[in-house]
């Protein structure tokens, strides 16, 4: 019975080892090595600024670019003094170069700042991302620029999931092989960039994004945007979306873990502030002050500096443009000089 069921005549392996199998594996390893070495060399030199940056696979090329530029910045200028994080108001707001200039003018000392603002990032992503960035880059001061809208339900853009990316998880203490590779191997990251570009829907953001970001992470919004007119119906400040509240709590935990945290109220066009003050901004500021003051976390208000920004310094209701950026950045640099003297950053 067994004789009929089984046979040994089908597979004949004579000569099979003469197939160039091992040689192919060797060639594959050699190619990977060459790719990895080239990637490490390019990424660690200024050459890296001339080609699309390596990706960490978080599905947001803005995020990828900022991670890489921050790495480059630390490589070229040493440890990070202040890391600024927030949404588009941060992304287009403070220019680290101008902050550093203002700080130097006031104290004579140099500091090293980086803008990690990401458009459409609400607190649900800001919380985990701030922790991952603090763990990875160890800034001496973490500046979070917030506004009332950061507590609202986040928009379903890729940036919402940036905190759950493999890279972020790796730096939050949940390691995985892809997370490790995204954190450690430029060859892998450039391959991810190539893969990102191969996805047609990413092409536009791929080519546009990285060129608009300065090596300090700042992304200027020039001219005037579409939304210049005020909505007649003022919004209400809400904290009803649990994920953004959890993100805020995660920021407070960071402070408890020893990260020096500074929270700055995002600048708002004065007429917007006045119109929405009662239902939107005032309850937000009260909540922030009630929460942060007992924990010793400074909360800087920006009403005065917002009032000093001329009308043509606003890109739209809540974003400053090239005329507003120098004023806001200089103010931030001067405030830092007052409250965080050079000794703090040493």
């Amino acid at each position: 019975m067994q004789k009929n069921l089984f046979g040994k005549q089908t597979l004949r392996l004579e000569g099979i080892w003469s197939l160039p199998l091992w040689r192919s594996i060797f060639a594959l390893l050699a190619l990977l090595l060459a790719w990895s070495l080239s990637a490490e060399i390019v990424a660690r030199t200024p050459l890296g600024f001339y080609i699309p940056p390596p990706s960490v696979g978080a599905d947001s090329f803005e995020f990828d670019t900022k991670v890489y530029y921050l790495e480059q910045s630390i490589r070229q200028r040493g440890p990070l003094d202040c890391l600024i994080i927030g949404d588009s108001m941060t992304n287009n707001g403070p220019d680290p170069r101008l902050i550093e200039e203002a700080y130097r003018a006031k104290t004579g000392a140099s500091i090293h700042c980086f803008n990690f603002g990401l458009p459409a990032m609400f607190l649900d992503a800001t919380g985990p991302l701030a922790e991952a960035l603090a763990n990875r880059f160890q800034p001496k001061l973490l500046i979070v620029i917030l506004s009332a809208r950061n507590f609202e339900e986040s928009v379903d853009f890729p940036i919402r999931y940036v905190g759950s990316s493999r890279w972020s998880q790796q730096n939050l203490g949940n390691p995985s092989p892809p997370g490790w590779a995204a954190n450690s191997l430029y060859g892998y990251r450039y391959a991810l960039s190539l893969k990102y570009w191969l996805t047609p829907s990413n092409r536009e953001s791929f080519s546009d994004t990285w060129r608009m970001i300065t090596p300090e992470g700042f992304s200027p919004a020039n001219g005037f945007g579409e939304q210049r007119e005020l909505d007649p119906e003022p919004p209400e400040f809400q904290r009803t979306y649990p994920p953004t509240q959890a993100g805020f709590d995660q920021l407070l935990d960071l402070h408890r873990q020893g990260v020096t945290l500074l929270i700055v109220d995002a600048p708002i066009r004065p007429d917007v502030y006045s119109a929405w003050q009662a239902s939107y901004f005032q309850p937000y500021i009260e909540y922030m002050q009630d929460t942060l003051t007992p924990q010793g976390i400074p909360f800087w208000l920006t009403r005065k500096i917002s009032a000093s920004i001329p009308t043509d310094g606003w890109y739209d209701l809540q974003h400053v443009n090239e005329n507003g950026v120098p004023l806001f950045s200089a103010w931030l640099g001067e405030q830092l000089a007052e409250d965080y003297p050079p000794e703090f950053f040493r």
Binding site: K3, N4, T10, L19, P200
Partner: protein, 467 residues
Amino acid sequence: MNPIEIISLDFLLLTVVTAAVYYILAPRAQIFWLLAASYFFYATWSWIFVGVLLAFTILNFFLAQQIERSKSGQLLSMGILVNAGSLVFLKFLTGPYGGNILERVGTSTLTGILLPIGFSFYVLQLISYLTDVQRGQIEAEKEFARFALYLAYFPKLLAGPIERAKSFLPQLKQDRVVDRGSIEQGLYLILLGLLRKVVIADHLSRLRPENIFTEPENFTSLERAVWLLVFGFILYNDFAGYTSIVRGISSLLGIQLSPNFKQPFLARSFSDFWTRWHITLSEWLRDYIFYPVRRSLMQSQIKGWAALLLPPMVTMLVSGYWHGASLALLLWGFIHGLYLLVEQILQQSKWLPKDGLKANLYGVLVFLLVTLAWIPFNTPSVRASLRYLEGFFPPYTSTLGQLIFPDILLIIFSLWLDWQEQAHRDLSFPRKWTPVRQSWSVAIAILLLVLFSGAGDDLSRFVYEFF
């Protein structure tokens, strides 16, 4: 259970397990094992499909034996009527007109399951099998398992190649050998097929504007022209990639499947094109439509234009209908019939260049006209085809979407693969290279596949599965 696609980890697992067990079984047991694996594979698509396949297998198995015994033309006609009739009827029901009728009677949800996947392919095999038995060209298969495997063999079940019984069944009767040669051939065919499908076809498909063939008026003249050209390469690499993969898998099981493509875009004439494009279908149409029509015309003493016109026209119209019961696809068949007819007239008048520059220019013209015929192949209706065609007349508009130079390189890569196939006269041509060249090429191919796989929407299905 989800349907197992050819390009999926599930299919890889199915193939590995099937092959591993297959290698240790005796030849006769291998048939039953492959049959079980094939039916399992088909059952992941639908149990209804399995039922239909089994019913057609049983019916034709016994019918063929009756035909062999009686040599009856009537029985053959009955067999053809049942098989072809089912195909014609189901194609009609699942086409735009039948779909409308079903919708009107409120059973439109049935359309998805009416035409089993692979049906169009195995029905043609059945028709050729019965015909060959009746003609005495082959013997009717006496062992049911072998016959069932001929139809259900999993590598070719979804979209061919359309195998003839006279080349496939003898391989099931003899002891099969899987040696260094077949493993080498199989692995290279799989690798080349994956390159064609994943790197070329899928990438270009993702770039193609989704509605360019349904709403051509929203696209510029240049976009229409470029995407029409690119579509030919998408379709070719998708289907040639599929065929290469399944032929490679079959080679690893010691069973040779027929090639379906031989560098079609390098064809020097329309008749040459049809010996290079979807070869197993073209040969089937030639042997079971073209020749019989021509023979019957000759027998009935019909001469002149009708004798010249009807065989290619009927053949290509049948081909159009086989692809789908829509006027647009019939128009596609008609256009190709017309091409063949005009070429035949040119040939008879000795106007057709045989070699030199003129022959090359004629080859380019053939390519362009074949490309032009993709319009009705792709558009949902004749009206949409005409709307697409309008873009080729003034006023011309010339912006182009997101196709950029690196994407164009993929078309050059496709042509390079063709050139290599032709130069080495081997569809698994890398085995003709030096070992060093082979090693580096395999390494680069693997890197390309890793990079291109999963970049964007899931396109693991093949275009011809839908026919």
